[in-house]
């Protein structure tokens, strides 16, 4: 082999040895980050079902004399028929319901420029490639025991999967991917706001 090619091969071999040492020095260094689920865990699904459950019929007398309280769950909680593909996991209707309940922390994993153009109200902007800078910035503003829902555009974008995996790497287990994405949210006419992230 020509010395020229031998030297090039040596550079590649040096990098391979350095990679092996580097990976071995990190705990689980050669393990792929886990993928987050795209379905609601039992506790949150139960909470949603409870909210959607038909309310018990009021006593006859009360029914005759009292109008339903304006904040009665039944008024809000009509199960929305979801004609979207069930294989995509968390439905837009379920997410909308959870958003109304303020039960989840929404993470927008799209590039910041897209977030500024429009996003689900209350979502935090955490683009995948900016995760390590953004996560410490927004973490103090999470509620106690947060449940994260991560979304991107939908239509096969990987940013939500990647950001969800990085959240799992932080030791947080309550993460779900909203695979239908922001496009499906908009298509269903749900609330949208624009502008720079507040945090």
């Amino acid at each position: 082999m020509k010395p020229f090619l031998l030297r090039a091969a040596s550079i590649v071999a040096f990098a391979a040895v350095a990679a092996l040492i580097h990976g071995a020095a990190i705990e689980n260094g050669f393990r792929m980050p886990r993928q987050a689920e795209d379905r609601l865990p039992g506790a949150l699904a139960d909470r949603l079902a409870e909210r959607r459950a038909p309310q018990p019929a009021p006593a006859d007398e009360a029914a005759a004399t009292e109008a339903p309280a304006p904040d009665a769950p039944a008024a809000v909680v009509q199960a929305v028929p979801d004609d979207e593909d069930a294989d995509l996991g968390l439905s837009s209707a379920d997410l909308h319901e959870l958003w109304l309940m303020d039960a989840v922390v929404l993470i927008d994993s799209r590039p910041r420029s897209q977030f500024v153009q429009g996003h689900i109200p209350g979502a935090f902007s955490v683009p995948f490639e900016d995760f390590n800078r953004r996560w410490p910035e927004i973490s103090p503003f999470f509620p106690a025991d947060p449940f994260f829902v991560v979304y991107c555009d939908g239509g096969g974008c990987h940013a939500s999967e990647n950001v969800a995996s990085l959240i799992l790497e932080q030791g947080i287990e309550d993460v779900v991917i909203y695979r239908r994405g922001f496009d499906a949210w908009v298509a269903r006419g749900y609330e949208v706001e624009d502008g720079e992230p507040l945090i």
Binding site: K2, P3, F4, L5, R7, A8, S10, I11, V12, F14, A15, A16, A18, A19, L20, H22, G23, I26, G29, F30, R31, M32, P33, P111, R112, P127, F128, E129, D130, F131, N132, C152, D153, G155, G156, C157, H158, A159, E161, N162, S165, L166, E169
Partner: protein, 175 residues
């Protein structure tokens, strides 16, 4: 024949472009290999089993080739490694555009922020590819560590020849 001054400047610039990018690019990748694993996976080109090792191997190759290019040591072999890596990255980016995959580039480990792959990404890679190809073809130039320490084979002190180039011309070296 002595390289002209403009050629030396051109080669120095090419080395700093191709090598400098490879010094900056692996910083975040080596600090956060898990993110780089996910970025590679997004391209949907490689089996998952090899991705964790590649997530360490590629940045170390970049760093080694980058440092050698910038200093001008073992320059042409380093340029070959850099050219191979840039060609591989460009092919991957072209595939992403062809397949219409909405993935983040993963370039520079996100050190300059995120961005989906588009033709400007290809154009930027084309510059790096051309710079490494130029160094691979013409060698390090006069403004390099290699040129300072390697004696010319023909006695002309201005004629700086890379060791691998000298090895490739044993007849000339013997004369």
């Amino acid at each position: 024949m002595m390289p002209k001054r403009w050629e030396s400047v051109l080669l120095l610039t090419a080395r700093f472009i191709a090598g400098g990018a490879f010094i900056i690019a692996p910083i975040m990748k080596l600090q956060d290999p898990k993110s780089f694993m996910l970025a590679i996976q997004s391209f949907e080109l490689l089996p998952t089993a090899v991705i964790p090792f590649l997530a360490y191997w590629i940045p170390w190759m970049e760093l080694a080739a980058g440092v050698l290019l910038v200093y001008g040591v073992v320059t042409r072999p380093a340029a070959l490694v850099a050219f191979g890596l840039y060609a591989m990255f460009t092919a991957g980016l072209l595939y992403v555009i062809y397949a219409g995959l909405p993935v983040d580039c993963g370039c520079f480990g996100g050190i300059f922020g995120g961005g989906t792959v588009d033709w400007s990404t290809i154009g930027r890679n084309g510059i790096f590819l051309a710079a490494s190809a130029l160094v691979l073809w013409r060698g390090p130039g006069a403004a390099s560590v290699e040129a300072l320490f390697v004696q010319p084979p023909n006695g002309d002190p201005a004629r700086r020849v890379a060791p691998d180039e000298r090895a490739a011309r044993p007849a000339e070296a013997a004369s």
